[in-house]
Symmetry: C2
Subunit: 459 residues, 2 copies
Amino acid sequence: MSPDLLQQLYQLLGPKGVVTEGIEQRTTDGWGNNDCLASVILRPTTTQQVSDIMRLCSAEGQKVVTQGGCTNMTHACDTSRDELVISMERMTVIESVDNSNRTMTVQSGVPLQHIQERAESEGLFFALDLGARGSATIGGNIATNAGGNQVIRYGMAREQVLGLEVVLADGRILSSMNQMLKNNAGYDLKHLFIGSEGTLGIVTRAVLRLRSRLPVATTALVATDQFSKMPRLLNHMESALGGKLGAFETLWQSYYRIAYGGEQQTSPPLPVDYPFYILLESTGIDAQQDREQFLAALETAMEQELICDAVLAESQHQQQGLWAVRDNIPSLQPYQPIILFDISLPLSEMENYLEEMEANIREIDSSLFIATLGHLGDGNLHVAVQLGNDQPERRKAVELAVYGPLQQRGGSISGEHGIGLEKKPYLHLCRSEVEIQLMEQLKKLLDPQCLLNCGKVIE
Amino acid sequence: MSPDLLQQLYQLLGPKGVVTEGIEQRTTDGWGNNDCLASVILRPTTTQQVSDIMRLCSAEGQKVVTQGGCTNMTHACDTSRDELVISMERMTVIESVDNSNRTMTVQSGVPLQHIQERAESEGLFFALDLGARGSATIGGNIATNAGGNQVIRYGMAREQVLGLEVVLADGRILSSMNQMLKNNAGYDLKHLFIGSEGTLGIVTRAVLRLRSRLPVATTALVATDQFSKMPRLLNHMESALGGKLGAFETLWQSYYRIAYGGEQQTSPPLPVDYPFYILLESTGIDAQQDREQFLAALETAMEQELICDAVLAESQHQQQGLWAVRDNIPSLQPYQPIILFDISLPLSEMENYLEEMEANIREIDSSLFIATLGHLGDGNLHVAVQLGNDQPERRKAVELAVYGPLQQRGGSISGEHGIGLEKKPYLHLCRSEVEIQLMEQLKKLLDPQCLLNCGKVIE
Ligand SMILES: Cc1cc2nc3c(=O)[nH]c(=O)nc-3n(C[C@H](O)[C@H](O)[C@H](O)COP(=O)(O)OP(=O)(O)OC[C@H]3O[C@@H](n4cnc5c(N)ncnc54)[C@H](O)[C@@H]3O)c2cc1C
Ligand SMILES: Cc1cc2nc3c(=O)[nH]c(=O)nc-3n(C[C@H](O)[C@H](O)[C@H](O)COP(=O)(O)OP(=O)(O)OC[C@H]3O[C@@H](n4cnc5c(N)ncnc54)[C@H](O)[C@@H]3O)c2cc1C
């Protein structure tokens, strides 16, 4: 970076706004093991400052990487020496909550959890939740179109965003801070930026949709003996609970066996020898009625032999215990190095996909451990595959074994985590030539110098 | 159009695929009073044919207008003599329903109602509904991002679309037929085309999301005395019904008084002297439980003085009667010429907006009749304003009276119907300069010759 540019940036942002020391200690992803290579981190506090930064950078052809909470899992925030970081860590203002319109207006650096808590304190609810809630920012959630645990009922980050403010590569401020559920006045530009991982613009502010808070959660863990029963169970539970089903999280035996040992558990909530487990949760307002309805739905499922075992949580503590099994990704640690895949595919293709994929892995090395879990209701699977060794060839072979069979089944190499750097070589396996052409055309239109997260996703 | 091009089109589509007679009898909008001026209508049956048409047309610079069911309300399908029509009337195949994945794959010319019926026959539900269901096509619904009566619960057309196939202006086929709820592999291109009113591409096929069918509807009409109680009632009902609220349709006294005389009604369901009426509907699975819950919620609302009168439909016949009041737009006929506006704005701004707007209209002519109704839960109002006379100056004065006060309130000139030709002159009132620049950049990128619906929405 030219000393001249650095000088101008100091002038613009003041000493607190420009960090040049201790940068390599910062990590850039959710695994916590990537050093930040950039030599300067900028910490703007306003949209105008972000705009001014981009005017200066675009005049000099200076490349930037935007960082939110750096909890991504795809090397999406990696930097090279000659890139600048724009960190959203000081853009953390919740500007307003409109109770009547049920919206919240925020700066993009606000951590997800602060938004959830603020909504709750207003008697409302923000319908996005994921494990990294404490450090992930709403800007990062939007930039990655994050999913999480409530997608079947409420949709992904995209569905929670009504309005967006974005700074473009040339410094123009695109203010599209719509506050309504409905606005069909011309093209809905916000969708260009949601899920584009910081490659088309820098999200600076957003208007979020809030909803009614449904205070009662009813949670169960059930087991079944055949894959094909799970989609039927999903349909059954959705109908029988009248649309109240919020989570349908599936754990394969492979994952369940190692994960049940989570924190407070001593013995598994259900025996460990069923092939499939499903964590079910409904949310509503009437604890007793919801419980009765849930029990009745499970009984019918049992009668129809859709499930062969079930346990209903009797307390919040037990609910947390069931979720702890689902969330015990750290239990995979002993199998490191592993890759945690995040694929999605039509439910009707899932069973035979998994067979083919596992056969592929066995062909590489039949001793490699595979654990599968997923947001089955969304078609989204997380498959953890042990690498055995961390050689690039091994990594590549495993990636091809997993991604290859998606292609003819209309699957995707990323359900929710995005492409970043990590999955870029495989994008063509799930996107057609014309799709990729059009992505490149959009990138060129909005960022002709390739200044924003250059080299990530496409290009 | 060059005779050469016509010849090639005949060869491509055969005699059934090219219509040159009786065209002026066709209407191009939902009012049924616009002649189709084009001299040729093309009727392709496959995506490949649409692609071939666009290759020929782009080679010759021939402009086209895509027509679905022609039920739009914004002159979006108007044609000039030198434009070709591409009609979707023969692309009406429902290709498949995947019960396990809960998706339906269709050609874009399928009428909305056929999709609803097919979903129902599979025990599932397609969550988009609007009055023009019999003739409106799914392609038109997608191209206009149609709303309708269930938006607070299920979202607009956009939220019902998982995958899309689009023919671009140069004939390239963009096949983005994703079948999953979650797919974050690169930019989600379908959103560019949803709601862009045929100006960026021609929708040829789609993958639609289906949901559980909730067979029980509970319907009530209530009245209240203050505007400010309506948003509070909305919050209350959403909480008290645990997210089951599907419709929250508001009728101002001005509309209610003339509309209640609908078909089977002899006397109004509630007295006509309340300032505001709200049609409430929840959907669920247990008739008795839902009814009790609904009654309890209304009782609380009554105790809290949020409402002052209420009637709960006791039969399907009575339900239809209540909806007939809401839907009796034809009762506005005697006030013709009128403009039926379709604005949206934050709920918190609505009351003072309406005051200012009505004062503006009174200033033009204090005898002009104004009737207001709306999907209040979505911030979307339909305001019918009598013109008195159909002079262009009068029309313009009324449009400015309605659109002007939206600007400082963050409102939109179109909640659901879109811009078409009709609202184009006012787009700048609700979109910033940068937003319009970017829309123009996108149009230029995707349709550099301005062949697709040229002159609609933006230039
Ligand atoms: C424990 C754990 C659980 C997780 N669970 C889930 C889950 O259930 N579902 C799911 O979808 N994801 C999950 N993730 C990954 C997820 O993508 C992130 O947690 C989150 O959405 C990223 O937010 P962030 O602020 O950390 O973004 P970062 O990691 O900082 O950035 C991610 C990408 O967005 C860009 N970006 C960030 N902020 C902006 C901005 N303001 N403007 C433009 N671009 C920006 C970055 O350049 C980068 O490309 C999980 C991660 C962890 C560590
Ligand atoms: C009685 C009535 C009630 C209505 N209620 C509602 C309502 O509640 N909510 C609401 O949002 N709207 C409503 N509308 C208007 C609504 O926009 C349309 O009914 C519907 O969505 C348009 O579908 P269509 O097939 O008739 O489209 P058309 O009128 O044929 O076309 C509309 C626009 O889409 C484009 N288009 C059509 N098909 C394609 C395609 N395949 N590819 C690309 N572009 C295409 C056209 O070029 C045009 O710009 C109503 C209309 C009527 C008459």
